[in-house]
C-alpha cells in the first residue's frame, strides 16, 4: 500500500475545483491569444482581444475563489508578504507559494494585455497604450504573459502532486495533464466566443488547435493512469466511471467532432467545444474529489 494512504485530505473542494477550471481557461486563453497576437494575422484580432479579456476576467475570478477558500480570507496577503516582518514571502519549492506569485504576475500581464486590447478595439482612448502595443515592450509583455500563462495552467497539477495524498502524490503527470486540459478548455471557450463574434477563420484554426490539445490531454491521462499503478484502485468506484465518461464524452467525442465536422453538421464545432468545457470541469472534479474522499 502506498504511504500516501496514511494522510488526511486538505478539504480542497468546490472553490478549488472551480478555480482549477476557471484559472486553466484564463491561462490557456492568454497563451492562445499570445500565439495569435504574435504569429497570426488581421482576421485573428477579435479572438486575440477576446483571449486577453477572458484571461483577465478569469484570473480575477480565480483570485476571488482562492481567497474565499481560505479559512481566514482576510489573511490572503500572507501568501505574498511575511505578516510579522513585512518582507516578501516566497518559497520557490512550495507550489502554493510560487503559485501565489505566479498568479499575481500573470494577473498583471493579463491586465496590461487587456488594456492594450481595449485600446485596439477602440473602447479605450489612451495614446500611451497604443505606443506600448506597437513597440518592443508590448511584445515583451505578451511573451512574458504567455510564460506565466503556461505556469498558471500547469502549476495547479503540480500543487496537488507536491503533497502526500493518495493519487495526487503518486504520479508526476498531473501538472502536464492540467496544462493540456487548460489549453483544450481555453480553445473551446474561444471557439464559442469566436463563433459569437463571427471570426470563422480563426475558429477553424482554434478547432485544429483544440484537436491537438485533446490528443495531448488524452495521452497525458493514459500516462497518469499507468503511473499510478495499484493506487489507481481509488478509481474503482463511481469516480472511475465518471472519469471514463469524461474521456469518452469530453475528449474522444469532441475529437471526433473536430475531425469530422459533418457528424453534427453546423453544430459539430460548438457542440464539441461545449463538451470539452464540461469534460475539463468534470475531470478536475474527479481528480480532486476522488482523492479527497480517501
Amino acid at each position: 500500500m502506498s504511504d500516501t494512504f496514511f494522510t488526511k485530505p486538505p478539504h480542497w473542494e468546490w472553490f478549488v475545483i472551480i478555480y482549477f477550471f476557471v484559472g486553466g481557461i484564463a491561462a490557456g486563453s492568454y497563451v492562445i491569444a499570445a500565439l495569435l497576437d504574435l504569429f497570426g494575422d488581421t482576421r485573428d484580432r477579435p479572438v486575440v482581444r477576446l483571449g486577453y479579456y477572458v484571461a483577465l476576467i478569469g484570473i480575477v475570478v480565480s483570485g476571488a475563489l482562492l481567497s474565499m477558500d481560505l479559512g481566514r480570507p482576510e489573511r490572503f496577503w500572507h501568501m505574498l508578504i511575511e505578516s510579522k516582518r513585512g518582507w516578501p514571502m516566497l518559497k520557490w519549492w512550495s507550489p502554493m507559494s510560487l503559485g501565489s506569485w505566479g498568479i499575481s504576475a500573470f494577473g498583471l500581464f493579463a491586465l496590461l494585455s487587456a488594456l492594450m486590447a481595449l485600446e485596439e478595439g477602440g473602447t479605450l482612448r489612451w495614446a500611451r497604450l497604443r505606443t506600448l502595443r506597437a513597440g518592443f515592450l508590448g511584445k515583451l509583455i505578451i511573451v512574458l504573459g504567455a510564460v506565466f500563462g503556461f505556469f498558471v495552467a500547469g502549476y495547479t497539477g503540480i500543487l496537488l502532486s507536491v503533497t502526500n495524498r493518495p493519487m495526487w502524490a503518486d504520479t508526476h503527470f498531473l501538472g502536464i495533464l492540467f496544462l493540456f486540459s487548460a489549453t483544450s478548455t481555453a480553445a473551446a471557450a474561444l471557439i464559442l466566443l469566436g463563433l459569437w463574434r463571427g471570426a470563422n477563420d480563426t475558429v477553424r484554426w482554434l478547432s485544429r488547435l483544440d484537436r491537438g490539445a485533446l490528443v495531448l490531454e488524452f495521452l497525458a491521462l493514459i500516462a497518469l493512469v499507468i503511473s499510478l499503478g495499484s493506487v489507481a484502485r481509488v478509481w474503482l468506484s463511481g469516480w472511475g466511471a465518471l472519469l471514463a465518461a469524461v474521456v469518452l464524452a469530453g475528449i474522444l467525442f469532441p475529437l471526433a467532432l473536430h475531425t469530422r465536422a459533418h457528424l453534427l453538421g453546423r453544430l459539430s464545432v460548438p457542440a464539441g467545444a461545449v463538451l470539452v468545457l464540461l469534460g475539463g470541469f468534470l475531470m478536475r472534479m474527479v481528480i480532486v474529489l476522488s482523492s479527497e474522499g480517501v
Binding site: T7, W12, L70, I158, T163, A169, G175, A220
Partner: protein
Amino acid sequence: MAEPMGFYTDTTVCIGCKACEVACKEWNQLPAANGGIRQLSGDSYDNTQRLDGIHWRHVKFIEQFSEDRAVGRWLMMSDVCKHCVQAGCLEVCPTGAIIRTEFDTVVIQSDVCNGCRDCIGACPFGVIDINPASNTAQKCTLCYDRLQSGLEPACSKACPTSSIQFGTIRELHQRAERRVQQLHDQGEKRAYLYGADDNILGGLNSFYLLVDQPEVYGLPRDPKLPSRNLFVSSIFSTLGAIVFGLFGLVSLRKRRMDEIAEGTRVQTPSQGSSDV
C-alpha cells in the same frame, strides 16, 4: 539553540487511560468535538478517533483478536505530531506560519496561518487539521509555551505509566534503546524503534517503540517529503508547454502555407491592415 527536545512513546506500557488527551485539551484550551456530545466509534473504546485541529493527542486502540476471540491483544498508542526533522508541513507552508523552534520542534503560528490547508495534505502522518474555533490549521506544539517556561509538556506530565516520556532527543534515544534491549531479553523480539534514527524524514522528534508493523499502528512505512515530486512534475509540465507552444506555431504556419498555396493569404498586422 537549545538542545533538540521531543517525545519517546513506549507503546508497550500504554494503558489507554487518555490522561494525555485530557491534559492536552485542558492546557491548550481545545474545544470538545460535536459541542461536547460524546461520539462513540461503535467498535472500540476510542471515542476521539483521530488527530485533528482540536485533538492534538489521540490514543489509538488497536484490537488484534482471532476469529473466536480466544487469542488476542490490544495495542495502544498515544499518537501525536512527530515533529519531523524534515517536516513536510513546514516545507509547503506558503505563509511562513509553520516554524522550527529553538527546541527543534515544529509549531504552527495561529496568528500567521490563513487556513490554506496545504500542510494538511503534505503531512505524511495525517496529523494536522483545521481548528474550527480559529479556522486555522493546528496541531501539537509540543507545549511550546510550557517549554519556554522550563516546564514539560502537559501530556507527558500527566501520563501515569511513563508511556510518553519527554526529554532531550539524545537522552530519549539512549533510554529507548535500553528498553528495546530489555524487551528483547524478556522474549519480546518484535520490539523496535520507529523514527528514532534518521531514516524516516531525517528522524522524528516524537518517536515510538512498537511491537508490530508500522501499518498496524496507522503509521506509514517509508514516509516522504512532498517535494520529492516537484522536480520531475515540473520537467514534464515544462515539456508539455514547449510541445503545445510548438504545435500552435506549426499549425499557424501550416495555415499560412495552405493559404499561400490556395492564393487566399490574408495580410499580417505588420503588413498594414487595419483592425477587424
